[in-house]
Symmetry: C2
C-alpha cells in the first residue's frame, strides 16, 4: 500500500508523513497538493490569536473538545514562529498541548518557521489542504501574534478570535494597532482578573464607534478558560459568525480572494526557483559582486542589468 | 537647491526625506539608491537584539553616546515589527528613544513593518545605504528578536550583540534556539538581579562546548545599563570584534555575501512587479479562480499553467 493509499484509508501516520512531505517541499509536493486539493471539502478555519499568556492554548483545547463532542472532525495547528526568545513559552505550549482531547480524535500539528522551508503562511495553507482532504471539517489555527507573518496566517482563516487578557494593556491601544480589522470575535480571557470590566467596556465602546463595512457586529465575550466559564458561549458566537459568512455570501468571496493569493504564491515560487538556478548557474552574480566591490558598479544597477537578462517572456 | 543637493550639503531634514522616499519605494528610488551607493564608505553596523525588557534601548543609548564621544558619526535604527500586541512596548520604546544623545549628533530612525512597503529587511538595508552616503560611519540597529524577519536584519550586521536578562529564561534553552549562531558578543544586562551569575556561567559553558568555526571567541559580559556599569567594556568588546573582522579578512567576505543577497533582492523585486502586472492585466488570475471554484482545476495546477505562460526568458 502506498503512502497516499494509506492516507485515503484514514491512517493518521500517513497523514503526518504527507504533511512533512509538503512542509519540506520534497520533490513532487506540488503534484501531491494537486491530488489532495481535489479531495477537499472546504474545511472551516477558526483562527485564534493573542498575546503570550492570554490562555490561548486552554481556549483551543476547550473549543476543540466541544466541537468534537458536537460530532465535528477537528484538527488543530499551533503556529510557533520559533523565536529564539520564546524558548520557555514554546516548551510551555507543547506541554499544554498534551491537554488537547486526542481521545476525541482531535489531530494536532505544530508548525514553526524553522521547520518549514519557504514561508510559514504558505506552509500552513498547504497543510490545511492535506487536513481537509483527510476528512477534517474544522480547523483551529492558534498563533502568537507577533508580526506580519502571523497576521498573514490569521487573515487566511474564516473566523478570527482575538484573545486578550486584562493585563495585556490598554484595549484602545490594541485596537489602534490593527486588531479591530482582523477580529470577528473578541474574547477577554482570565476575566476574573482586575481590569476585566474596564477592558470589556473599552472594547465595546471602540467597536461601536467604527463605521460598519460588513453587517457583522463583532461580539466581545468574557471567558475563563481555566474554569470553563463562557467557553460554550464563545463557540456559539464563532459558529454564528460562520453562519453569517455562509448566508451573506461572504464566505465564497473570501475564498475566491484566498485562491487568487494561492495561485500567485505557486507562480512566485516557481519563478523564484528559476531566478536562483539561472543566476547561480553561470556565475553572473559572483561577477557582478566583484565589479561592485571594485567600485565599477552598484548593486541596484547590477540588479537591473541582470533583471533585463532574465526578463519575463510574455 | 534640490533635495539631493541639500542631502550632500548635510541637511538632516533632507536625509529624513530621502529615507522616506526609499522606504516607500517612490518612483525613482532605485536610481536614487544607485547614486547614494556610490557615495558609501562601508558603514560599520552593530546589531543589538534581545527579548523585550532586556534593556536594549538603554544599552543602545549608552553605546551611541560613547561612540559619539570617541568622534564617530553615529546613526541608530530601531526596528519595530509593529506587532498588534506590543502597543504598549512600542510607546515605551519611543519614550526611551528620547534619551538618545541627539545633542551629540546621533541620528535616530524608527522603522516598522507597517511603514515600509515590501520587506523590512530590504528596507533596513536600503536605509543603511542612505545613512552611509550621508557620512555616518557607525550604525546601531536595535531589534526585538521575535521572528525570522528580525533575524534577517541582524544577520546583515557586522557585529551582533545579543542582550539577555537573568529572568529571560534558561540560557541553554536560548542557545539551543539559535542565538549562539548569531551572537558575536553576549551581554547579560540587569546583572544585579537574581540568577545573573548562573546565566553567565551557563552561557560561558555552552560557548566553550561549541566547535569553533571562526577563531573569534564569543565573550560574555555582565552589564547594568541603568548604572552605566560595564557598558564601556561592552563597547570595547564590540570594537575588538570589528578589528578581528577586518584583520582576518572576514569583513570583506561577509560584505561580498551581503552584496549577492542585495543584487538578488533587486532582481526579485523587479520580477515580482512583472508577475503582478502581467497576471493582473488581462484577468487570467480571475479566470483561473473561476475554474477552481467550479472544480475544473486546482490552484497548484493553475499556478503551474500560468507560470509556464510567464516563464522566464533566458
Amino acid at each position: 500500500m502506498s503512502l497516499y493509499d494509506k492516507f485515503l484509508d484514514g491512517s493518521v501516520i500517513a497523514l503526518s508523513r504527507i504533511i512533512s512531505h509538503i512542509e519540506n517541499l520534497r520533490p513532487g509536493y506540488q503534484e501531491l497538493l494537486s491530488r489532495l486539493y481535489r479531495r477537499t471539502n472546504g474545511i472551516y478555519r477558526i483562527g485564534l490569536t493573542g498575546p503570550p499568556g492570554a490562555g490561548k492554548s486552554s481556549l483551543v483545547n476547550l473549543l476543540a473538545g466541544q466541537l468534537a463532542d458536537d460530532g465535528r472532525r477537528v484538527a488543530v495547528i499551533c503556529v510557533d514562529p520559533s523565536s529564539p526568545f520564546t524558548g520557555g513559552a514554546f516548551l510551555g505550549d507543547r506541554i499544554r498541548m498534551q491537554d488537547i482531547p486526542v481521545d476525541k480524535g482531535v489531530f494536532i500539528r505544530s508548525m514553526g518557521s524553522r521547520g518549514s522551508t519557504g514561508g510559514l503562511a504558505a506552509a500552513t495553507s498547504n497543510v490545511t489542504v492535506a487536513l481537509d482532504a483527510f476528512g477534517f471539517d474544522t480547523l483551529i489555527i492558534e498563533t502568537v501574534g507577533v508580526g506580519q507573518m502571523e497576521l498573514d496566517i490569521i487573515d487566511a482563516c474564516d473566523t478570527v478570535v482575538v484573545t486578550l487578557v486584562p493585563e495585556s494593556g490598554d484595549a484602545i491601544q490594541a485596537l489602534k494597532a490593527g486588531l479591530m480589522e482582523i477580529a470577528d470575535v473578541f474574547a477577554v480571557n482570565k476575566s476574573d482578573r482586575a481590569g476585566a470590566e474596564q477592558m470589556l467596556y473599552d472594547l465595546k465602546s471602540a467597536l461601536e464607534m467604527r463605521t460598519e463595512k460588513s453587517k457583522w457586529e463583532v461580539p466581545v465575550i468574557a471567558t475563563q478558560a481555566l474554569h470553563k466559564k463562557n467557553t460554550e458561549e464563545l463557540l456559539r458566537l464563532i459558529l454564528e459568525h460562520k453562519s453569517f459568512l455562509e448566508t451573506s455570501g461572504q464566505l465564497s468571496h473570501i475564498r475566491g480572494l484566498q485562491l487568487q493569493k494561492k495561485v500567485e504564491t505557486v507562480i512566485t515560487r516557481l519563478v523564484f526557483r528559476d531566478i536562483s538556478s539561472n543566476i547561480l548557474s553561470d556565475g553572473v552574480l559572483e561577477k557582478a559582486v566583484d565589479k561592485i566591490m571594485k567600485g565599477e558598479e552598484d548593486p541596484y544597477s547590477a540588479g537591473m542589468r541582470l533583471y533585463k537578462r532574465f526578463k519575463l517572456g510574455s
